[in-house]
């Protein structure tokens, strides 16, 4: 999968937020390489998977802090770049698709204008050329009537359409890496498949790297080439996606087992028994904060 040098290389990435009780580390030493592949990042809420995606783009707001031993895009460091250069990379070379198109599209601007503006921000192209590019992108995401959609406002399009528009917008400047943060969780299953097909094809045809952040193990197993499993801000296991069901880490196994299955009915679902040892292993330095936010459903003595 990664024959040539990696597109993106991250070493010992840490994201921390100051709280009253001391520093809270949302991401604690994450390292990985991304080639021209579909890399899945899986974990529960609070595992730091979204924070990892945002940290790559420098989208952590102060007082949150991003630290890393190194973070390089095609060999050039993108760590601690000034905001102006970061903005060029963001959208130009690394794009991000968020969970819900409703919140990522500007409600008072037509779809066409948003795509055109996004494109012109990164490519100094004249207006009519940008418009042609926008139409072309809408066609690429299989929107049948691009002219009409160009003039529509975001509230006039469905969720699946909105997400396709987001993808079109993000891909227009021709980035090398696409980070998709739960791009299909807000969509119905039937629409979901379509959106995934589109992403899949675009990423393959353009030889892009895709970071696909999701909580859905089965989806990632089928859609991605390689999977990182995150727990409490760390990567606990990395494996080829097709081998996900042979995962060895008890956390991954526990997650897989806790899914109800139509083809294999059980009377009780196995419950994930969390162990503190999953949070840290000996190779990594001990943490100085509690890695789980209150949302993270930590295992407590009193049950859940």
């Amino acid at each position: 999968m990664t024959q040539d040098a990696p597109l993106l290389s991250v070493r010992d990435l840490r994201v921390s937020f100051p709280t009253r009780q001391g520093s809270f580390q949302a991401v604690r030493g994450v390292s990985f390489d991304l080639g021209r592949e579909r890399l899945g990042v899986v974990g529960e809420s609070g595992s730091g998977k979204s924070m990892t995606g945002r940290a790559i783009l420098g989208l952590i707001r102060p007082p949150g802090r991003i630290e890393a031993a190194s973070m390089t895009l095609e060999g050039r460091s993108i760590l601690d770049l000034p905001e102006r250069q970061m903005r060029k990379i963001r959208g130009g070379r690394i794009s991000m698709v968020m969970q819900d198109p409703k919140f990522s599209l500007n409600p008072v601007m037509t779809v066409g204008r948003q795509i055109i503006e996004a494109y012109r921000l990164h490519a100094a192209a004249p207006r009519d050329q940008a418009r042609r590019k926008a139409l072309e992108m809408l066609e690429a995401v299989q929107i049948r009537d691009p002219e009409r959609v160009m003039d529509a406002y975001p509230h006039e399009v469905s969720g699946g359409m909105g997400q396709r528009i987001m993808i079109a917008m993000m891909l227009a400047p021709g980035p090398q890496i696409l980070i998709a943060d739960e791009p299909t969780s807000a969509l119905d299953v039937s629409v979901r498949t379509e959106v995934l097909h589109i992403m899949d094809r675009l990423v393959r045809d353009r030889g892009m790297g895709l970071i696909f952040i999701s909580h859905d193990l089965n989806l990632v197993a089928q859609f991605c080439d390689r999977v990182l499993i995150m727990y409490a801000g760390r990567i606990v296991e990395t494996l080829p996606a097709r081998d996900l069901h042979q995962a060895r880490h008890p956390y991954t196994r526990g997650l897989l087992n806790s899914l109800p299955r139509l083809d294999a009915p059980v009377s009780r679902l196995p419950v994930l028994a969390r162990q503190d040892s999953w949070r840290d292993d000996d190779t990594l330095s001990p943490s100085d904060g509690d890695p789980l936010s209150p949302r993270a459903d930590t295992a407590l003595p009193g049950g859940l």
Partner: protein
């Protein structure tokens, strides 16, 4: 929120200090939970330096009002025509006015009047607004229509003009000024409370309470009011400055406190005639109004951090 050093989730762990006890994520009693919530709020508020400044100024103001007879160097009414229009000096720190009264003493005593006006208006207007707004928003239909049209009528007049009309009809006095201000100040609160109610009304927790058989009155008072009150408090604190200025405006026009009461607005009005040659007569009460207004604004900003339920909880 999860405390790193202690392990707050196991009930056996004894919290070590009072701070830990207050910040515990697993309070053992109703009292601890409530005090903990208040303490969290206080910590958030304290982090806002400017809000703390506002709070300090207001505490000083209240202290000044309470202790006025003891800390004022002279009587606010003692005239001394020989000493009229003296500039600030050791004997009169802030100078004297046209009748030779000590401005500092008058300001100190005037703080009582200011606090009285502000306090009463701040109590009456939001309560009227809360009541009308939540009833309108919650009931909907024609009740909403009627109440909101009344609100619109009040909103259609400039506040001060309406207050002027009230005072003109009722006769000039502090009490009537307060009443006029309160009656003109409530419509924005009603609008705000209604808007909040409309968003809360369809929330799942209201539906859940309804499924337990909760009546409309209980939903209104027990579930909707607590969520509206916080935004109203913030709004009141931010509006305080405006109320002080309106009260001063009425005083300035001679429709509020009557001479010789040392109301700050009336004092500016008195100093108006001498503003070019004896600037301090008008400037000192002006400065006092400015300081207090600013303090309330700062306080309101801080309260917004604490009370906004959408705000960050950690």
């Amino acid at each position: 929120m999860t405390a790193a050093p202690t392990s707050p989730d196991s009930p056996q762990t004894r919290p070590r200090t009072r701070r830990d006890w207050l910040l515990s994520d697993a309070p053992q009693t109703r009292r601890q939970a409530r005090l903990g919530a208040i303490y969290q709020g206080w910590l958030t508020f304290r982090a806002n330096k400017l809000a703390m400044l506002g709070l300090v100024i207001l505490v000083l103001l209240i202290g000044m009002a309470i202790l006025a007879p003891w800390i004022a160097p002279q009587s606010p009414y003692a005239q001394n025509l020989a000493d009229r229009l003296q500039p600030p000096s050791a004997a009169h720190w802030l100078g004297t006015d046209a009748l030779g009264r000590d401005i500092l003493s008058r300001l100190i005593h005037g703080s009582r009047i200011t606090l009285f006006i502000v306090g009463t208006v701040a109590l009456i207007a939001p309560i009227i607004g809360l009541f009308i707004g939540t009833v309108a928003g919650f009931a909907g239909g024609w009740v909403d229509q009627v109440l909101m049209r009344i609100t619109d009528i009040f909103l259609a007049f400039p506040k001060l003009i309406l207050a002027l009309a009230f005072v003109a009809a009722l006769g000039p006095s502090i009490g009537n000024a307060v009443l006029a201000l309160a009656l003109t100040a409530w419509p924005p609160y009603a609008r705000l409370a209604r808007a909040e109610t409309l968003t809360i009304r369809n929330a799942d927790f209201i539906a859940a309470a309804r499924l337990q058989g909760a009546g409309r009155l209980r939903l209104l008072i027990g579930h909707i009011w607590p969520l509206c009150v916080s935004s109203l408090i913030v709004r009141v604190a931010l509006d305080m400055a405006g109320i002080i200025l309106s009260a001063a405006g009425l005083g300035f026009l001679g429709l509020g406190a009557q001479p010789p009461l040392p109301e700050w607005g009336a004092m500016i009005s008195d100093g108006r005639a001498y503003i070019l040659d004896f600037w301090w007569v008008a400037a000192m009460p002006g400065l006092a109004i400015f300081t207090v207004s600013m303090a309330f604004n700062l306080l309101g900003d801080g309260l917004r951090d604490v009370l906004d339920p959408k705000g960050d909880k950690s």
